[in-house]
Amino acid sequence: MTPEFDVIIVGSGPAGTSAAYPLVQAGLRVLMVDAASTAAPLSPPQGDYLSNRANDHQQWKWMIGDMFHALNNMDAVSPKLKTPTHRQTFENFNKANGLETENFISVGSLATGGLSNAWGCGVARFPAEDFAELDIYVDLEKSYEIVSRRIGISGNEPDDLSNYFGVDKWSQPSLPIDQLHQRLLTNYNKHRASLPQLGFQMGRSRIAALSQDMDERKACDLSGNCLWGCHNQALYSSEQEISKLKLYPGFSHVSGILVDAISKYADTWTISSSQSARRFSAKRLLLAAGTLASTKLTLKYLQHTAPVALQASPTAAFLLWLPRMLGAKRVPSLGLGQLSFALKLASNVTAFGSTFSTTGLPMSEFVSRVPLSKRYSVDIMANLLSSCVVGNVFLPGHLSKHSVSMVGNEVLHIKGAEHPDTHMLMKQTETLLRKAYWKMGAILMPMSFTVGKPGADIHYAATLPMRSTPEPVTTNRLGEVSGLKGLHIVDGACLPKLTEKSHTLTIMANADRISRALATPPLE
């Protein structure tokens, strides 16, 4: 019996959609499945954020949700997890996938488009050294270009981070930054001579948000709704790809199927779901369900119960105050990273982070952290925050000691554990950042530097890393699981390692690279 498809892709996020293009362009029959429910997601707010806040009596619907989504998730690590517009993005992921956590925050998505529905849009290229042993960088570089041009990124500036990001040649111009960030940048340029001594380099953030129209997507109009949902579709989401992929005759997309088992008979791979009687078969199976879900499917099939290392980036958040800007007026501005920094901590450790405007964020987030009474905390924050920016920082994934292991046949246990050096490195990061920003006229607010719980970064990777000579429970250069012909891992799980940089673009480029390789020789 010949299978009905050439390739099945599990997952419709950044990895899955990037893997689909080369295959459908080569004329292959491709089936993409995801576990999205059919309910229509809440539409994003129209108009600009500040006028909506001032006038929209229904604003609670998109800020909190009809069913009080935001209040139900008051303990969530990121404001994004509370946003009603993104409810369907995160809903049910852990439960449906049978994930069990211990000292680890696990966030994933069953929605079409996956986590890219709610990502920070940070893009960067991993350096060649990260793939040195694999000898794939020439192909990967080509894929970086293909993907960057397809998703549309902005931030092309000849600044100190140009090389660090390495995506400028495919970028649109930068989006305007707000006056606080402008001030930081001006001061940075003034002290350019002395700051590198701290190992601190700053430049514009490179983000997957449009500064020029692209197809039906409109350029960012600085309406400030980034967190709540962009009505212009200026922010990239893989969900936007589905309609474009459907133009290729070989492409099919089926939603509502949570794949919980894979099987192989002769040369044919079959996916099945316990909630659905439907089964699909293909010659090749590409797992792009997200690092955690793809790892689970693979380990379950392998019946591998020993722990497997999982990398995630230690992360922290902080608040910067620019005293000279006290009393600045609130203006709508970009809600994504505006300026980014790279901070050298040791020979093999660099920290990376970005700073954001506080305007588009819910103030309650900040107020609840002030150790004063709520009434006056609100007062203080209302006066203070218009002269503040928030920042985040990530450390490389090798500074984590997390692991995943199958418990029984249905549960993936995720155990979070800190690397012994992380604590010290975070302290060092805080000190250096405080010094660097001080020179730029900004105060890193005392007590504001908060280290996130393991997993809070939502950068999970390298459980089934690519190796030039694959050992068991690793993958080869094409993400093909050792000993399992035709089963490829194309998402974060197959990255050889996780750096401090935003890893989404690399996952996409790698998926594209693998698919191009698979599409080139005709599948037998």
Binding site: N55, Q59, F68, L326, G327, V367, I380
Partner: protein
């Protein structure tokens, strides 16, 4: 079932008839005049107590009594009327339910109580059921409850009698449910059921509840020694006393507590808390929640919250919490800013405080997501400028320091004054 009610236009009768009708029973109203067309009317007068009970009438609820200030009907007439009803109901095999009074006693100070006791004896002998309700309240302001409500409404002081009489309130609708239950239950016959709150409350607490929970007014309790009232009665004479409704008040003084637990358990009825029953809706839960929302939101926004925001708070607590208010204070609704006294880490870390802290956070998130909140949280209408903002920051810190100091000084009093553990006052 078919239910015959005498006195269906009275305080209790009206609510009972309405409840029975709403539950789909056939209601016969035995009265001097026809008043409500929903019910079948049967002419009946205590003075001429002939009554033809329709076939298959399940129960006859005898509520009719002369409660006018100037007794028009002698107690003998009332007893005779009751006997006539007992006879009639025996003929048609109808259960007789007699609504008596807590004052019923052979040696009651009023003829009212004595008459009730005499009728009780006959009813029990005929295998009927006697219900002795405590202080009936709620619903329309009628009966003694009506008198007390209008007193509280009119006078700035409420009397705190010394020694204070104890009463056992029961909401008129809870009583109606109890009567219907007795009518429906085959196994309840030939007994006396005492219905009222298990734990008696002081008369002045009852008046206070009328003031706070029903009328939303602040009333000060003024001590009033009982001998003074006794003196007043002596001076005014019996007739005047009755005209002023004072005799009813006096009957409270000699009231003996009833043990109601067994009767309530027998009927399987839980009485609503007094505070809830006092509210016009008969259900104070949501009102309390709205009051709480008003406190929290006003505290955060520094101005009264929009009605829709208030309702959203109540809805959120109903959807995500237990739907019950936890703030129960008289001061906070008047001065929401006093919340600053307990909104500090040292208070919010205990169990009670954590619940409040959660609600504060919830209120804050809701408050922010409104145009009103946007102005406060984002400072949209502030003129801005370095100096102005700097001063504003300083003022906020100063105010915080003042409240903290005050909180430290008043700490021993705070818990009782501002927050009470929610224990419904009734059974």
């Amino acid at each position: 079932m078919k239910l015959l009610i005498t006195g269906a236009t009275g305080y209790i009768g009206e609510r009972l008839a309405r409840l029975a009708f709403r539950e789909g029973h056939t209601v016969y109203s035995a009265n001097r005049k026809q008043t409500d067309t929903h019910y079948c009317w049967l002419p009946f007068d205590l003075k001429k107590p002939t009554l033809e009970i329709p076939d298959e009438t399940r129960a006859l609820v005898h509520l009719a009594a002369d409660t006018t200030h100037n007794k028009n009907i002698s107690s003998e007439t009332e007893v005779q009327a009751a006997r006539e009803l007992i006879r009639n109901s025996a003929l048609t095999n109808t259960k007789l339910i007699f609504i008596s009074s807590q004052t019923a006693s052979p040696d009651a100070p009023t003829s009212y109580g004595q008459t009730k006791w005499r009728i009780e004896q006959d009813v029990i002998a005929a295998d009927g059921v006697v219900i002795r309700p405590g202080q009936v309240y709620g619903g329309y302001e009628r009966g003694l409850f009506g008198v007390l409500s209008s007193l509280v409404r009119r006078f700035p002081l409420i009397p705190a009698l010394i020694p204070t009489p104890l009463i056992q309130p029961i909401h008129v609708d809870d009583l109606a449910v109890a009567i219907l239950t007795v009518a429906a239950r085959e196994d309840i016959r030939g007994e006396i059921l005492c219905l009222g709150s298990v734990r008696p409350i002081s008369f002045s607490a009852f008046l206070e509840s009328i003031a706070t929970n029903r009328l939303n007014v602040l009333r000060i309790a003024a001590p009033l020694p009982v001998p003074l009232i006794t003196l007043a009665r002596a001076i005014l004479g019996k007739r005047r006393t009755a005209q002023l409704g004072l005799d009813r008040l006096l009957s409270l003084l000699t009231l003996k507590s009833m043990s109601t637990q067994t009767s309530l358990q027998r009927l399987g009825i839980t009485l609503r808390p007094l505070a809830y029953g006092m509210h016009r809706s008969g259900n104070g839960r949501r009102r309390h929640l709205l009051v709480e929302g008003n406190i929290l939101l006003s505290y955060l926004l520094k101005s009264p919250p929009d009605q829709s925001l208030l309702r959203r708070y109540a809805r959120a607590i109903e959807a995500l919490g237990n739907g019950q208010a936890i703030l129960d204070s008289k001061l906070l609704p008047l001065f929401p800013s006093l919340l600053a006294l307990i909104d500090n880490p040292s208070f919010l870390c205990n169990e009670q405080g954590k619940a409040l802290s959660w609600r504060l956070h919830l209120a804050m998130t809701l408050a922010e997501a409104s145009p009103q909140g946007a102005v406060v949280f984002l400072g949209l209408k502030r003129s801005g400028g370095f100096l102005r903002t700097f001063i504003a920051l300083g003022m906020s810190v100063l105010k915080e320091v003042c409240w903290r100091t005050l909180a430290l000084l008043t700490k021993p009093l705070l818990s009782n004054m501002l927050i009470k553990r929610k224990s419904p006052r009734d059974a």
